[in-house]
């Protein structure tokens, strides 16, 4: 049963003073926002299980968790980081196409420093993160201060950034060794992959900063109506810059993880087309590209849906040429099921049927 319509008792609509607001528990759409993505995720996972019964096997190999389910989280960690940064940018009514290039740049900085210097890992990581933050700063300034439209502003770095990364690595995959970095890529802490822990920490930290301070509100206000926010005393430009900086930072962390994973910086291919998956995840998680609202938790679920889908396709043994079609179809279905308009239509349809049935 859909209960989209009116769940309150018919006490009028609070037209007279003092009546509204007290009864704040009326179920609004937003409180059920999580339903669609979670159902979609469960469905994809169930289908995976049907395709490949081994899918649900999780066992302990060499003292760490091992299995397809673990793989989804493991592989999804870097995409989730990028997507969460993307969600915040989208919250300000922006978009960041440069994340893939930022991943390449931070990975390249890290690999080259490891290869050519004997700096301590902490400094190398800081340098890689710094590179990502600089990239974000550049995007933010273009968008907020030069008023360049976000798609184009970040397209610039998307194109040039990969060139910069290639320049740093000389167009070769720079391989490196070192226990510390290998652990980041494929090490475990009490059976849980380090990269998952890192991603979880960063995402939880961002969630706290966004939701436990007023920053999240500011981001959403700026995305909803930048002019009005400015007039309400919010530094709209600053908030925009900050959003891109956060996105740059998240991409840099992802870049570090990705490079550590293959023990090399692949400037040519690292993070290629990842921006599309990240944006997809944000939208599958229920946010609007028109800004004004963002959901970090649902974005992560969106990432897991996409990752589970990819893993499912690989497990199914379906020839590679079908991958894109399946992906397109599933994304389409998930979006349609989630779209409020479509739900509304289905709701109407059900009500009509029930009415006729009675």
């Amino acid at each position: 049963m859909t209960t989209l319509q009116d769940t309150k008792k018919s006490s009028g609509n609070g037209g007279s003073a003092g009546n509204g607001g007290k009864d704040g528990r009326a179920i609004s759409l937003s409180s059920r926002q999580w339903l669609g993505p979670v159902i979609a995720l469960v469905l994809v996972i169930i289908v995976n299980g049907i395709i490949s019964p081994a899918f649900f096997n999780v066992k302990v190999v060499d003292g760490h968790l091992y299995g397809s389910l673990v793989d989804i989280v493991h592989r999804g960690a870097s995409t989730a980081l990028v997507a969460v940064g993307m969600a915040i940018v989208i919250g300000t009514r922006g978009i960041d196409l440069s994340v893939g290039s930022v991943i390449a740049i931070s990975g390249a900085v890290m690999a080259v420093l490891i290869r050519d210097t004997s700096l301590s890992p902490a400094i190398i990581i800081l340098a890689a993160l710094g590179a990502g933050i600089l990239c974000g700063l550049w995007n933010g300034i273009l968008v907020a201060f030069l008023d360049i439209q976000p798609i184009i502003a970040t397209l610039i770095l998307m194109v040039a950034g990969r060139g910069i990364a290639q320049m740093i690595t000389d167009g070769q995959i720079v391989t490196f060794h070192g226990a510390f970095f290998e652990a980041i890529g494929s090490g475990y802490l009490v059976g849980v992959p380090w990269r998952v822990i890192i991603a979880a920490i960063v995402i939880a930290g961002l969630w706290a900063v966004m939701r436990k301070t007023a920053l999240g509100l500011f981001v959403e206000a700026v995305g909803g109506n930048a002019r009005a926010s400015r007039l309400a005393g919010i530094d709209a430009r600053g908030i925009k810059v900050l959003a891109y900086v956060i996105s740059g930072f998240c991409s840099a962390v992802a870049g570090i993880i990705i490079a550590a994973d293959i023990r090399g910086a692949d400037a040519n291919n690292a993070g290629l087309w990842l921006e599309l998956d990240a944006i997809l995840a944000v939208v599958v998680g229920g946010a609007s590209l028109m800004g004004g609202r963002f959901y970090l938790g649902l974005t992560v679920i969106g990432v897991l849906i996409i990752q589970a889908l990819g893993t499912g396709i690989l497990l199914s043994g379906l020839p590679s040429q079908y991958t894109l079609i399946v992906k397109a179809a599933v994304v389409m279905i998930v979006l349609l099921v989630q779209a409020p308009k479509a739900r509304q239509m289905m709701g109407n349809f059900w009500r009509r049927r029930n009415r006729n049935g009675q």
């Binding site: 490949s52 081994a54 190999v61 060499d62 091992y66 299995g67 397809s68 793989d71 592989r75 290639q166 000389d170 167009g171 070769q172 995959i173 391989t175 494929s186 990705i258 994973d261 293959i262 023990r263 090399g264 692949d266 040519n268 291919n269 690292a270 290629l272 893993t311 690989l314 497990l315 043994g317 020839p319 590679s320 040429q321 991958t323």
Partner: protein
């Protein structure tokens, strides 16, 4: 001084960057003014570049075509302008009179060579998995076809699974991880055939992380001969790699020179690389990483 235009596909892999570097170095050595254009993986950009070379009246053009078809028109224009075109590292499906020569190896043959080696190594009994290159790319198509043509002759050789790892290291690793899971933790898999070395290197890590020993529990054969694969072979992680020769500058320039001198040039200057095995790997690695 000779002016030669070089339209390169892009810089999508370390191998291609080496090829570019090698051709540039060769040009410098010979005092050739090389006009380089990177097409960012797009045929239309390559056509633009070739036309720009024609407009500038260069003495010759090197073209590393991103795809095999669609060159007739622009090659005709070059021919009309009297500019010889040398295809490097890949061929085109155009009339042979439209270009001077092709300096390239044969992808199909590479695939066949890999399969032959594997068949010999396993006495024709092997269930293997394949890491394909980018779907639709000619290198992936041909390396797959060549390999398959040999496997078809061995009833006890079977390709269990074949997925695209997009020619990248992380792609190879991710796909291999799922193969291992789908094939009983890797116990069903006798060998991996990777369309390039980078994917093989990714697979090595996936196999290690699954608790198996690459090169022993699962044999690995790949193509390209990038420096890192020699290290891996020397360490015993992979078993064979077929080199794709990146040093195509010298034969290409020679061909242009020869045709200017009015000499005949063969239509296909084969540049196939050999199959390398672990025994020479350490030495080869030293050679390649040293230079």
């Amino acid at each position: 001084e000779m002016i030669i235009g070089f339209s390169q596909i892009g810089s999508e892999s370390g191998w291609r960057t080496s090829e570019t570097a090698s051709i540039k170095a060769e040009a410098e050595k010979r005092g050739i003014d090389l006009k380089f254009s990177d097409a960012q993986q797009k045929q239309e950009n390559q056509i633009k570049a070739v036309r720009s070379f024609i407009a500038q009246g260069v003495d010759g053009i090197l073209l590393a075509p991103v795809v095999e078809t669609g060159w007739d028109q622009v090659l005709k224009e070059a021919k009309d302008a009297g500019i010889p075109v040398v295809l490097v590292d890949r061929g085109v499906a155009a009339d042979k009179s439209l270009y001077l020569t092709k300096v390239a190896s044969d992808f199909v043959q590479e695939g066949a060579l890999a399969a032959s080696w594997l068949a010999a190594k396993t006495n024709g009994v092997c269930d293997l998995v394949e890491l394909q290159g980018t779907v639709g790319s000619s290198a992936a198509n041909d390396r797959k076809a060549g390999f398959q043509s040999i496997v078809d002759n061995f009833p006890n050789m079977k390709i269990l699974r074949s997925q695209s790892g997009d020619f990248t290291r992380s792609g190879g690793k991710e796909v291999m991880e799922s193969f291992l899971k789908a094939e009983n933790g890797g116990k069903n898999i006798c060998a991996v055939y990777a369309h390039n070395d980078d994917m093989a290197l990714g697979a090595v890590q996936a196999i290690k992380e699954a608790g198996l020993e690459p090169g022993k529990d699962i044999l690995i054969v790949s193509i390209d001969g990038v420096p890192d694969i020699f290290k891996a072979m020397a360490d015993g992680d992979t078993n064979a790699s077929i080199e794709l020769n990146p040093h195509l500058g010298a034969p290409a320039f020679d061909a242009i020179k020869a045709s200017m001198d009015g000499k005949d040039v063969p239509k296909w200057i084969k540049a196939n690389g050999p199959l390398y095995l672990p025994d020479t790997a350490a030495e080869e690695y030293k050679k390649r990483s040293g230079s």
